[in-house]
């Protein structure tokens, strides 16, 4: 047992559901107790999704516990097949079904006989994998299933496209700025003269998977989701992949050079060097920004970075290499992939922290007292408590991290967004600091909030105590309205009764 107040990565089934709900016309059925479908709320609220989330539950209740699911799961699969005619139903195990040890694979086989759609059992063990690992596995599982199916049916498209083309892998629902990143990479590919063969899994249909081998290469921008799929395709079709995250000026250039190498190896004869120079110097403002005197002021400022592997590693490199900021500590919660992280960031920071315990990172921040933090929503709140500004760079995230405006983290526009994020965090920090030194914006202390503070009315102590429970921002209004109410009725003392009467009468 572990005492836990907070977790960075969710349980395994969330990863599977993120993949399933990213595809078009794929439905997930969770084998779970009532209330485990909280994923639907997150999808509907955080992404402000207009469609019903294609996730339903085959409810595990007391009866299932005593007698087993029996026909229930099969019936639910067949029913959903009839109602929504999906292409694929993914049966999703949860922590509860893991320990029930029901033969879900058998249910899938039986349902497959009656359902028109394909049925798969997500192969994820709740106690071994977290959300990110499960997402990676489920994506690979679905791709492998449809590649094999296409091969069997003889409609696997293995011939490469005439022009260089790419599969972009790893964009999912509830992914951090994934939709904007996806748009930015599509633009980048268009600029490089590379056709996008398929984007996966976001908005792809399962029958498109048969054409995956047609791409010249795969691009996996995120370390956490997509790599297993890319490795599978490399084994199966010798399809190369690029796994350099194009985040930051230097890494974007490195990613493009790698793409150039991969394409030229297949006879494309492309040279992207001019493009990189052009973009770096004139399109992205980030390179110039690092030379500007504003950025000079950031030199040597201390920062702490924490997040998932992709974003924390990229951010560390941007801060240290591109802006001259002193990254005291870089950390990740992707414990299962810690070696990769260490190798990526070791030369750019003083310490590396690998931990899933938010207490450890909180203590580290308190000890280091950086001028800014780049982390998740958790670190943002730590920052609030310690009065240190924080830029959010990775999940777990809130609704505010699903902005309506265009805010990619990848590609050249991404470099601009990152520069803003870094700069705004630090300036706010500086401003705050200066304000403290000079004693605030305005040295005249406000004595009363209202113009006239005297009142002819007595507040009974219990009413006063009640008034103090009213949230600060409306307390003044409640007080005024209650006193007005009392005055109108010629009451000299405000008691609890008067307060409630006033509330009923005037909504005070």
């Amino acid at each position: 047992m572990k005492l836990a107040y907070w977790m960075y990565a969710g349980p395994a089934h969330i990863g599977t559901l993120r993949i399933a709900s990213s595809f078009k016309n794929v439905h997930a059925i969770m084998h779970a107790p009532l209330g485990d479908d909280y994923f639907n709320v997150m999808r509907s609220m955080l992404e402000r999704e207009q469609h019903f989330t294609p996730v339903t539950t085959s409810v595990v209740d007391r009866q299932v516990l005593s007698r087993g699911s029996q026909e229930k799961v099969v019936d639910n699969i067949v029913r959903k097949d009839g109602e929504e005619t999906p292409d694929l139903i993914v049966l999703t195990p949860t922590c509860t079904s893991s320990i029930l040890q029901e033969d879900l694979a058998n249910f899938v086989d039986r349902a497959q006989m009656d359902a028109h759609c394909d049925v798969l059992l997500a192969d994820v063990n709740h106690y071994r994998y977290n959300e990110l690992q499960a997402g990676d596995r489920t994506l690979k599982q679905i791709v492998e299933f449809y590649i094999k199916k296409a091969r069997k049916q003889g409609n696997l498209a293995t011939e490469k496209t005439a022009k260089p083309s790419v599969n972009l892998i790893g964009f999912t629902t509830l992914g951090f700025h994934n939709q904007h990143d996806c748009t930015e990479l599509k633009r980048l590919m268009a600029d490089l003269g590379i056709e996008v063969n398929l984007i996966l899994p976001e908005k792809a249909t399962v029958d498109q998977l048969a054409k995956m081998p047609q791409a010249w290469f795969n691009l996996c921008p995120y370390r956490e989701i997509g790599l297993m799929t890319a490795e599978y395709l490399q084994e199966e079709f010798a399809q190369p992949y690029v796994d350099i995250t194009p985040m930051g000026v230097v890494e974007t250039a490195r990613c493009i050079r790698k793409i150039q190498e991969v394409l030229n190896a297949q006879g494309a004869e492309v040279n992207y060097e001019d493009f990189i120079q052009q973009q770096t110097r004139y399109v992205s403002q980030a390179a110039w920004f690092s030379r500007s005197i504003d950025c000079q002021n950031l030199t040597g400022k201390k920062a702490v970075v924490f997040g998932d592997n992709t974003h924390a590693a990229a951010m560390t490199k941007i801060l240290a290499r591109e802006m001259g900021i002193h990254v005291v500590l870089a950390g990740t919660y992707c414990k299962y992939d810690a070696d990769w992280f260490r190798a990526e960031v070791s030369e750019y920071c003083d310490e590396v922290l690998i931990s899933e315990d938010n207490g450890a990172i909180t203590d580290a921040i308190a000890r280091i007292e950086p001028a800014a933090i780049f982390g998740t929503q958790m670190e943002r709140h730590v920052g609030k408590r310690l009065d240190i500004p924080c830029g959010v760079i990775a999940a777990p995230i809130h609704i505010q991290n699903f902005p309506l405006g265009y805010k990619p983290f990848l590609g050249y526009e991404g470099t601009n967004q990152m520069a803003d994020l870094v700069y705004n965090s630090f300036t706010l920090g500086m401003e705050d600091h200066l304000l403290e030194i000079f004693g605030g914006h305005d040295t005249k202390e406000v004595i009363t909030k209202t113009i006239s503070s005297d009142s002819d009315l007595g507040w009974h102590s219990s009413a006063q105590a009640e008034l103090n429970k009213v949230p600060g921002f409306v307390r003044g209004k409640v007080k005024r309205n209650t006193e007005k109410f009392a005055r109108e009725r010629g009451l000299s003392e405000i008691t609890l009764e008067v307060m409630y009467a006033a509330k009923e009468a005037v909504g005070a």
Binding site: M7, S44, T94
Partner: protein, 468 residues
């Protein structure tokens, strides 16, 4: 039988139970705030933790007095000893937070692996010196607000009897009484005389403190003295409950607590409609007065006065229809109030319907429908959300009260929705708060009529096939 004596016409259906609701462990979020010296330990998996952390949003960052005892593979396969593990965590909690009670929340996982929490608690309690209350608030058996019911039912066992509490600190125990006599100890005797002499009455149900004060004062006006509330502000202030006390519920989802108080504590339950809406509040007070042998004073005028003050809101919903998808068990009371406001209600979805505990509420619902001349709603227990959405599409109700999983998709189809969860957290009890219920219920209508002129009510992209 004459036609005037038609049997109950309310129709009860039961569907598949495939509906969206919160896991009952969510009760932790309001109970830890209510019981100020408590610590809630949820013994479950990452799934439980993930739900709590996301559902509670910002509360999570405020150093809450709750935590997960996250079960690992070793716990599941019984390689680790439950007792030793729980002892280790509880000692850590004792050291860091020093609570007056630790509430263990059992989950689906502890049920399945049959962890004997009820058996372990007394041993550990004796060893570490902190009371431990166990509640099985799991998704296998319960929905959302029923979580509170399981916790309060367990706490009912821990309430002291007057024999256990010796004279000296007796007065100190009761928080409400303290509040009412605040600053005027000498007047205590005078305060006593304001009450009619009746059998002690204890109310049960967790409500925000201002609502507790408000309802207590409403009863005081009738000379009814509230001897205590389950739960009180602090665990150490749990009310005295002796055999023969009267008890009354303030929320419709507290049937286990009611049963426990009746069977185990030998209390007499006052079965009344719930004090939600001015009609419900009046009926609640009247029933309590009736049972205690008191003639209620001025309630009719009071109710009329509240209704008059609600008129501006009622104008917005009169003649409109409301559909409850059902997820928090407040549905019958809210529907009864909204029907009294002039709405029609084709369907009341509800997770679980205790016809005995809710009997008075159901009777009032029937009477209200008859008074208002509207058809009786269909009450659908354990609803099927998919079927409900088909019915919503056919009926096109003016307002759907539903969970957050369906709200945005329904809005995108041009259907007004109100998140049901807000009714759980808002202050909706008593005369004073009737306005707040209507503020919530009319908000989507007010917002959407403001935006109505823009002509954007249906916003779903045409080329994308709708999922449902």
């Amino acid at each position: 039988m004459t036609t005037a004596q038609a049997p109950s016409a309310l129709n009860f259906d039961c569907e598949t139970g495939n509906y969206h609701t919160f896991c009952p462990i969510s009760c932790v979020s309001w109970l830890y705030q209510k019981i100020e010296d408590s610590f809630f330990l949820v013994i479950g998996t990452k799934t439980c933790g993930y739900f709590l952390q996301n559902a509670m949003g910002v509360m999570i960052f405020a150093e809450p007095r709750y935590a997960m005892a996250e079960l690992e593979e070793g716990d599941i396969s019984a390689q680790l000893k439950d007792y030793e593990e729980l002892k280790r965590l509880c000692l850590q909690i004792k050291r860091d937070r020093n609570p007056s009670v630790i509430v263990w929340i059992g989950t689906c996982t502890t049920e399945i692996i049959k962890m004997d929490l009820e058996g372990l608690a007394p041993q550990l309690e004796a060893e570490i010196g902190i009371p431990i209350v166990t509640a099985r608030a799991n998704g296998l058996d319960y929905a959302f607000t029923q979580g509170e019911d399981t916790v309060l039912a367990s706490m009912a066992h821990k309430c002291p009897t007057s024999a256990q509490v010796q004279g000296e600190d007796k007065e100190e125990r009761n928080a409400i009484q303290k509040l009412l006599t605040f600053g005027r100890k000498a007047d205590a005797a005078k305060v006593e005389s304001e009450y009619v002499d009746h059998q002690p009455l204890v109310l049960f149900g967790s409500l925000p403190d201002p609502v507790v004060t408000n309802l207590t004062l409403e009863l005081k006006k009738q000379g009814v003295k509230v001897s205590g509330w389950l739960p009180a502000k602090r665990y150490t202030e749990l009310p005295i409950i002796d055999e023969g006390y009267y008890v009354a519920g303030v929320n419709p989802f507290l049937s286990r607590t009611a049963t426990t108080l009746m069977r185990r504590r030998k209390c007499k339950l006052i079965g009344a409609p719930f004090p939600i809406g001015p009609d419900g509040t009046r009926a609640w007070i009247e029933k309590i007065c009736f049972v205690l042998g008191i003639e209620p004073q001025g309630l009719e005028e009071r109710e009329a006065q509240i209704w008059a003050s609600l008129e501006d809101y009622i104008q917005l919903i009169r003649g409109k229809s409301v559909f409850f998808m059902g997820d928090n068990l407040l549905e019958v009371s809210l529907a009864r109030f909204l029907i009294r406001c002039g709405m029609t209600c084709p369907e009341i979805g509800i997770p679980y319907m205790d016809k005995r505990y809710q009997a008075a509420e159901l009777a009032l619902l029937e009477k209200t429908c008859a008074d208002m001349g509207v058809p009786l709603p269909n009450i659908v227990e354990k609803p099927d959300n998919y079927n409900q959405i088909q019915r919503i599409k056919a009926l096109q109700p003016d307002l759907v009260i539903t969970g957050m999983a369906h709200a945005n998709p329904l809005e995108a189809q041009g259907i007004n929705t109100k998140w049901s969860v807000e009714f759980t957290f808002a202050q909706i009890h008593g005369f004073t708060n009737a306005r707040d219920i209507l503020e919530l219920a009319t908000r989507p209508l007010r917002r959407n009529s403001q935006l109505g002129e823009l002509g954007w009510d249906k916003l779903i992209a045409k080329d994308v096939p709708a999922q449902v």
